[in-house]
């Protein structure tokens, strides 16, 4: 395939990007690919805001006295960091960007089932995130992203309701995306594309969408009740008025635990695409990986109480939740083993997406194993609400989901933009991110078992060395994230033309030009082969 350098201004044929350059055509688009780009720009901005909050937090934690920010400011920073990163970055990330772009293409369709609802979902996301930003700028929220009552309903003086409304609205954005994916995958598959020929990315997005559908409404109700209590003082959660603070925790975590599977499942789907491609192998254990996605989504709804082992819920409830939490770890383990086995007898290249996949394998493994510590009742009593938990979930969400997201961006960038990026810089930043990440978060496991609590703006001096290590790591991590921003933007103008399939990958999306035309396929393709039908001999572009 050709890799001619494009002259600046030279068109690469008529495609979804150059079909119409007007702002109106972007803001009123119903093309799933353009909506994906709109999401990409929005969440990148929000990631920078969330990341900056974290940077300030880590800087403050360099000294035990926490001299950089006041306690109140710090409390608002960690609240913002959590809210933005979870609701406005991670949850949409892969589904709203890569999912929106790829779902129709992977099944041979022209668009998702409800293109206008898709656009509405982006506007809802923007509205929610604007409210969140306004609440941050006008004074902030200091309840933590978990909004525990009665602090959030009765005691906090911050802009809880405004932020809560922002999250509420953004939740509907997720619901619409989930609806669209489920209906699209069910009803619009190309002829010959049976369920068990689907790319595993779609299995994981389907499972994710099921969680969107079943879980997000419960978050919506929790937030609604929180808002009503705060405004009208009625007493649903405040014990002084006859309410039960634990009811809020149950309602909140009923959504927020499955939410973490929303954050990791799509990433797992990406890994299932990247490893077969760069090993030139069919994935090992397709059925097991597919069913594992479903199992994670289902069992994931039954474990929420593991956030409440010391909250005052009954010992017996704790035991049930602990048991189920162990069960949910099994399908994740199955996936890790299957991905590793896919490498066996492969012909492996170290392109950037594959480096991110390797990073994912290592870091997700550590994150998942440390989850077992938290599922173990007696150990969780000691490490609950300490830095151990923070380290655990950052290994999964940053070491896992974020690396998968970056891997996905690097894998499908040629398809999305029609350009290649400089692989050397890309590999370098992957390594910098991996190293920076580990330095930031591994010390936090140690801090946690030592007893360092979460959400502390100041701490006893014996913890300082570990905190300084963590802050040093976070600076490296920050630099690591900036580098792709630079070369990816650079590639839009100066990158080599990509051609339809620079990686030699299987999948319907690679059979279109890069970038694809607005309608994706001139004629609906017909699928005759299994997923990942690699022969092993596919050529690929040189790095």
């Amino acid at each position: 395939m050709s890799t001619t350098l494009l002259e600046p201004g030279q068109e690469a044929g008529r495609n979804y990007l150059n079909a119409d350059y007007s702002i109106r055509s972007w803001l009123l688009t119903t093309d799933h690919k353009r909506i994906a780009i709109l999401y990409l720009v929005s969440i990148t901005f929000l990631f920078v805001v969330g990341g900056a909050s974290a940077g300030l937090m880590r800087l403050n934690l360099m000294t035990p006295q926490g001299a950089l920010t006041s306690a109140e400011t710090y409390n608002k920073l960690f609240t913002m960091h959590g809210l933005i990163m979870i609701f406005f970055f991670l949850i949409p990330s892969i589904p709203a960007v890569l999912g929106n772009f790829l779902v129709p293409m992977m099944i041979g369709a022209r668009d998702v089932a409800f293109p206008r609802l898709n656009l509405l979902s982006w506007y809802l996301f923007i509205a929610g995130s604007l409210l969140a930003m306004v609440s941050a700028l006008t004074g902030g929220v200091d309840t933590g992203w978990t909004f525990y009552t009665p602090y959030s309903t009765t005691y906090s003086n911050s802009y809880v309701v405004m932020m809560a409304v922002g999250v509420f609205i953004a939740g509907f954005s997720s619901i619409l995306t989930g609806m669209n994916f489920i209906v699209t995958i069910h009803t619009m598959r190309a002829p010959g594309l049976t369920w068990f020929r689907l790319p595993l990315f779609l299995w994981s997005l389907y499972a994710t969408s099921a969680i969107f559908i079943l879980g997000t409404p419960v978050l919506a109700i929790s937030i609604l009740l929180l808002g009503l209590e705060r405004i009208f003082g009625v007493g649903i959660f405040d014990p002084k008025l006859g309410g039960d603070p634990l009811l809020f925790q149950h309602l909140f975590w009923f959504y927020s635990h499955p939410a973490v599977y929303v954050m990791i499942l799509p990433g797992m789907g990406v890994i299932s695409e990247v490893i077969p491609c760069f090993a030139r192998k069919r994935i090992f254990g397709y059925n097991f990986v597919a069913f594992s996605s479903v199992a994670i989504a289902l069992i994931g709804f039954l474990v929420w109480g593991h956030h409440m082992f010391v909250s005052g819920q009954s010992v017996y409830a704790g035991m049930v939740f602990s048991f189920l939490s162990f069960l949910v770890a099994v399908p994740s383990a199955i996936k890790v083993f299957n991905w590793t086995a896919t490498l066996y007898k492969g012909a492996i290249t170290y392109h950037t997406p594959m480096l991110y996949a390797f990073g994912f394998l290592g870091l997700f493994t550590i994150g998942g194993l440390t989850g077992l510590f938290l599922a173990t009742l007696a150990v969780d009593v000691h490490v609950h609400d300490t830095y151990f938990v923070i380290a655990h979930f950052h290994y999964i969400m940053v070491g896992g989901a974020m690396m998968a997201y970056l891997g996905a961006i690097h894998f499908w960038w040629p398809k999305i933009s029609g350009r290649l990026y400089p692989d050397a810089w890309a590999r370098l930043s992957a390594v910098v991110i991996f190293l920076g990440f580990n330095l930031t978060f591994f010390p936090q496991f140690i801090l946690g078992y030592l007893g360092m609590p979460r959400r502390y703006h100041a701490y006893p001096p014996e913890f300082q060395v570990l905190h300084v290590m963590s802050t040093a790591g976070s600076s490296i991590l920050g630099v690591g994230y900036l580098i792709p921003l630079v070369y990816l933007l650079w590639s839009l103008r100066y990158g080599r033309a990509a051609g339809p399939n620079p990686w030699g990958a299987k999948g319907l999306e690679w059979q279109t030009p890069s970038p694809p035309p607005t309608e994706n396929f001139e004629r609906t393709p017909v699928v005759t082969e299994e997923a990942y039908a690699y022969t092993g001999e596919e050529a690929s572009v040189d790095a």
Binding site: A71, N75, T143, P150, Y151, S156, P239, P245, K281, F284, G285, Y286, N287, V310, S311, G312, V315, M319, S322, F326, V330, A333, V336, F337, T340, L343, Y344, K345, A347, I348, L361, G362, T365, I366, L369, L372, F373, A375, T376, L377, A378, V379, V381, H382, D385, T386, L450, G451, P453, R455, Y456, H457, A458, Y459, P460, Q464, V465, Y534, G536, E537
Partner: protein, 313 residues
């Protein structure tokens, strides 16, 4: 520098050793599996890299045996973790008989501790080695959490109810106490110390210093001032049931159900009296919401406990 880089917390409670052993087991299993995955990925990624000697991948069929093995072996190990953890958790939740009780009231942003014998402490807790101690905890405002890393114990303190945690200290010294449930602006300042003392030193400490009123005495005063005795006559002939020896015994309710009259039931009866009424009595008790502080109610409970022991405060 090395001395200021702690890597493992001190251990100062009986249950602490058990928790640490379970933790080491988890660490060992995790290290083995992490090493396994890391080594496999590293090895396979290099051994099967694409190079002139290895230009063609070989498609490998799946293996049900392999899938079952690597599903069931981890599951088995996890079941060990589960049972071990659950057993220990159960023990963490059940204080031994005869545990001494100390009362804790948490509020933004301090810990108020009260020994039944009288001494009160703020952000400090003195306890003796070798005696099981049960903390009965209440919050005046939001959710807090009583966390002593050296004991490996933690329990949220939830407004509107009592929660409790127990420990038995094993080593004299001074150990950090943290609030570990975010509770507002000065959450990070809501810390303190647990001082573990030799039994003799503890007795000295208890009787020395400012001898405050004992809790049962304070509770009895409150009991009389609020007029509880008007209805709750010791012989049960009043409008309310007798409270002699009531704590810890089952009570028959209207409608036939039985409930254990523990601290939580007493609290509910004081603040929400119509909820669960004793059989044979009418719903005439007024609520005392707003008239009794958390500390006051704990003092009354300590007084009621003293009644059943037959000891006069």
């Amino acid at each position: 520098m090395v001395s200021s880089l702690p890597l493992f917390p001190e251990r100062a409670s009986t249950i602490g050793a058990d928790v640490d052993h379970l933790y080491f087991f988890l660490l060992a299993v995790s290290a083995v599996f992490a090493a396994l995955i890391f080594a496999s990925v590293f090895y396979l990624a290099i051994r099967y890299r694409r190079r002139p000697a290895n230009l063609r991948a070989e498609q490998v069929p799946g293996s049900l045996t392999l899938e079952l093995t690597w599903s069931l072996v981890p599951l088995g190990l996890m079941m060990v973790m589960f049972f071990w953890g659950a057993d220990l958790y159960f023990r963490l939740a059940r204080p031994p008989d005869g545990a001494a009780e100390i009362y804790v009231v948490a509020k933004q942003w301090m810990w108020k501790l009260q020994h039944p014998e009288g001494p009160r402490e703020i952000n400090e807790l003195h306890v003796p080695i070798g005696r099981p101690i049960r903390l009965i905890m209440a919050s005046e405002d939001v959710i807090h959490s009583f966390y002593v890393p050296a004991f490996r114990t933690k329990q949220d303190v939830v407004p509107g109810r009592y929660t409790s945690v127990w420990f038995q200290a094993t080593k004299a010294g001074r150990y950090r106490l943290f609030c570990s449930q975010y509770c507002g602006a000065s959450h990070a300042q809501m810390t303190g110390w647990v001082h573990v003392m030799q039994p003799a030193d503890y007795e000295n400490w208890l009787s020395g210093g400012a001898t405050g009123e004992s809790m049962p005495a304070a509770g009895e005063r409150l009991f009389q001032r609020l007029g509880c005795g008007t209805c709750h006559r010791p012989d049960g002939t009043g409008r309310g049931p007798s409270l002699e020896g009531v704590l810890g015994k089952p009570v028959l309710l209207q409608g036939g159900a039985k409930v254990l009259a523990d601290e939580a039931y007493v609290r509910e009866s004081v603040f929400n009296p119509d909820a669960r009424i004793v059989a044979g009595y009418q719903a005439v008790m007024p609520t005392f919401q707003g008239q009794i502080t958390e500390e006051g109610l704990l003092q009354i409970i300590a007084y009621l406990k003293s009644l059943q022991r037959g000891a006069q405060p």
